[in-house]
Assembly symmetry: C2
Homo-oligomer: 140 residues x 2
């Protein structure tokens, strides 16, 4: 697939330096940054970006379907650039690290549908990552 910045230009998106560094911060797999982390990254590439512009741009990208908003237990919204392939999330409940994972969707039994029209399934595997498991080894 084309890189994000290319797709955006092709859509007639006004491409400013700020938007470019924000889009570039949101590239890769297993990327689930909160707004302030995007701000930090963008700022490293272009110190005069403002946090407001980061928020405006992230919301725009979500609206365009180029970014997924994912809920995170720390209360901050996270943004996931992996919109190509359906995937789910593996979350470390200790450090909050989040990875993209792929698995078959579960089926909701007919008698549980309550007349709803199903659209999609969102799964979060709550787990403990190797680093956090290692730390917990002091108390038996």
């Amino acid at each position: 697939m084309e890189p994000l910045v290319v797709r955006l230009r092709d859509r007639g998106w006004r491409l400013t330096a700020q938007r470019r560094v924000i889009a570039e911060a949101m590239t890769g797999e297993h990327v689930h940054l909160a707004a302030d982390e995007v701000y930090e990254r963008a700022r490293r590439a272009l110190p005069e970006v403002s946090l407001a512009t980061v928020y405006n741009t992230l919301n725009e990208l979500v609206g365009m379907g180029e970014l997924l908003e994912v809920a995170h237990p720390d209360g901050r919204k996270r943004y996931d650039p992996n919109v190509d392939e359906r995937h789910h999330h593996l979350l470390c409940v200790d450090c909050g690290r989040m990875l993209d994972v792929h698995t078959d969707d579960p089926r909701l039994p007919d008698d549980q549908q309550h007349g709803f029209e199903l659209l999609e399934v969102e799964i979060t595997f709550r787990a403990r990552c190797p680093d956090c498991a290692r730390v917990g080894m002091d108390a038996p």
Copy 2:
């Protein structure tokens, strides 16, 4: 199972009028209230409750394992009193209504575990409820 208020008293919980009306608001299946909705309900039964007490009490109940915190796309934390049986959620993406549903947990393939120790699975079925489907029938 014993009613919530009884379990709390048995635990030596100091049972005030405020705590009682808050606990009573958090009773039933398919209950996923946000803090301000709990406040509203509690206030109807006892007008002099404060929002701070609602937050304090909800946090305490979550800490005691008597309430589950669930993420909701509207950004507000929701509280779910159904802690007895493992369940998942059916969410209407239009109106935000949330129901408890029961289904088999999906398995995460071994090659997707990234060395994490799995703890539990959280599923949200995103859907459209009958009421919202009916409203959408004007545009073809």
